[in-house]
Symmetry: C2
Subunit: 401 residues, 2 copies
């Protein structure tokens, strides 16, 4: 079998749904998660199965929700590099510091994973029109994958979202609209519009398959570390789908017996100081977050004042003995410059926030010197050229340096 | 042995040089090429050797010039996707149309390959400062790899080069200068400056290892097509290192016996109508090109009025029964829009030029219906956001689509 997907279930009320019909939220309002036939997988899917397969996320197709290979819509996404950051490792005095570089993926951001799986499943379900709000990168990714699948996409994006992502949506042929407001405002417009037109709503976590795409980051980290789990995985957290996906991936790997550890990596949710609803909830030991008023940060991708999956993010943090940390814009932009100069990796501001958080956690000895840490860089720095100032000399052809 | 590199040789006068000392051009003025111990390789390096290796260009390390693995400077570059373009295939009535997507590589352009190998070899040779002129992407790539290798880079770039690449050089910490002129003017500034300061000149083809990085595109295409060569490979040609590299790769594969065909793929050099020195030389059946005055094109990466390796590009075209084709800016920009809307792949203008050229060659039946064609897309479209106009509605939060 190409996929061992079984059904959808609600993590709140345990209600179940079919994977053969379009589904959004549970009737109780919670996001839905995807279940697999784990007993059959234990027999038919072994870690040796993936050796020699294409270096993309579809190498784990048995543990993904697309039933027919012909429905896969792909640009070759996945198996992004896991780079050892040797200079920063030494600087921070950590045994191993790895960066999972999600800049090296179609559309230049980790959003490609969710849209590859989400659009493929939408195609499998015969969906013809999708709609979503976006802070930029998700809209770009879903628009481009939708074009490949001949699906029409309707996208609403804050006017302040990165210009490059606006251009990606436009050239992909999406029905793009800007809004004078935040992603939460864009979400409300989409909510009203899908009701009016009958489009399929693919907003974060209102569509259950995006998590499955994101979870492949966790599968890949484990495979790339030879099925040995790291001590800590740190992730920039906006909507939180990445951290929810990585948590789900590791639980599935443990159930399948592909990893020997019985201890989960401690998951760290990193946010910006001026948009830190998950960090606030964590510090108050709560299981859900409050809307963060007047949020703003240079790390635009994590400017999410209230995530619909906040309770799942917090569960992932609590259950793994992880934590949630906020860093200031000044700190993360300084960290971005530092990382690029030292390691040559032009990471995005969200990725820089993660390194800044790890630096902080190491200084507090929450991360120990003998530990292995994986930082997620969720996109290419060049998608946000406005974060770099250039002031250089202009020469004439007859000049010499 | 990690590498079977043997020596450098001049394709014009057959002079040889050591690979253990820094080398630029031959004393006769020609670029140098890298030779390997092919007899030893035939015994010790088989196509089965690469199975299960990391999906990056270092999987071919025996056929690359870096002698010690510890000298490798890498961001995980290589093994970019080979995507079947099914809609365009049907539209053009071609048996198989593949796109090698060099957007999916560190720094977002194929220049990463040349700089990964070039900077690694520079590190191996103990070089501490490099200098180069660039149309943008090469400068960005070399600056970032140099930072990772703790090598200082001096870069001179036309003031009209894409802004994003300027920002990449700046954040990498390069000693960046802009020039009021073309890449040929930047080259003259670098020429004078390396003499004055004793820096190592890594200008296109003045440094012999860049070709070796680029040739891995040819190795990967063959491996990804299960060691069966395509009928045609089309490439956007500025400095021409890519096409020279692919030609070299295929000759080496034939010599090693990894491919069964005894016929080379026909190599197509694609240029822009307003900068087409190679096309002009080809049409006049010449073995070298003339400087193209007042060149300009929206495909900035191929705005090279005179390539130092022009005779090698023309050799590759003639020896493979290939051809050289020019397309107008209007045509290539229209093709870019068309490809993105149809296939969802946000290719760069240079890549779009290749698809436009293949469309033309197919209409003239130079490419036959039963043939397999590979188009090289040399970078991400988002590196040139200025090629996309966006004119979309601005909504208020209370609006509905």
């Amino acid at each position: 079998m190409f996929s061992y997907v079984s059904h959808l279930y609600c993590p709140k009320c345990q209600n179940t749904y079919s994977v053969d019909e379009p589904a959004n939220l549970c009737s109780c309002g919670s996001p839905l998660l995807v279940a697999y036939d784990m007993d059959a997988l234990k027999v038919h899917f072994r870690k040796e199965s993936v050796i020699g397969r294409q270096p993309d996320l579809w190498r784990y197709h048995e543990l993904l929700p697309v039933k027919k290979e012909a429905n896969i819509v792909s640009f070759g996404e996945g198996m992004t590099p896991l780079l050892e950051m040797k200079k920063i490792e030494k600087e921070l005095d950590i045994a191993q510091l790895w960066m999972k570089d999600e800049g090296l993926i179609p559309t230049g951001s980790f959003k490609a994973r969710g849209s590859a799986v989400g659009v493929s499943k939408a195609k499998e379900l015969g969906i013809e029109e999708i709609a979503m709000p976006t802070n930029g990168n998700a809209g770009a990714a879903w628009s481009l994958y939708a074009s490949r699948a001949s699906i029409t996409s309707h996208v609403v994006m804050p006017v302040d979202a990165p210009i490059v992502t606006r251009k990606e949506c436009a050239i992909a042929g999406a029905d793009l609209h800007l809004v004078n407001g935040l992603i939460s405002d864009a979400g409300k417009i989409v909510g009203r519009s899908v009701k009016k037109h009958g489009w399929f709503d693919v907003s974060t976590l209102k569509e259950p398959y995006r998590i499955e795409g994101k979870k492949t980051m966790g599968l890949e980290i484990a495979e790339q570390l030879q099925w040995k789990l790291p001590d800590v995985i740190a992730y920039p957290t906006g909507g939180g789908v990445g951290i929810i996906g990585i948590y789900k991936a590791i639980k599935e790997l443990m159930e399948l017996g592909w990893v020997r550890e019985d201890k989960m990596p401690r998951l760290v949710a990193v946010q910006a100081e001026e948009c830190a609803p998950i960090v606030k909830a964590y510090e108050e030991n709560k299981t859900s977050s409050d809307f963060w008023p007047e949020s703003r940060t240079a790390a635009f991708g994590i400017n999410v004042p209230k995530a619909i999956g906040d309770f799942l993010v917090l569960e992932a943090v609590y259950e793994t003995n992880g934590c949630a940390v906020a860093v200031s814009d000044e700190t993360l932009l300084k960290e971005q410059q530092h990382i690029v100069r030292k390691e040559g990796t032009f990471i995005c501001p969200e990725g820089a926030a993660v390194f800044a958080a790890v630096r902080k956690l190491r200084s507090e000895d929450w991360i120990k010197a003998n530990e292995t840490v994986v930082c997620l860089n969720t996109g290419m720095g060049i998608k946000y050229p406005e974060t770099v100032d250039v002031n250089v000399p202009l020469l004439s052809p007859e000049d010499t340096l």
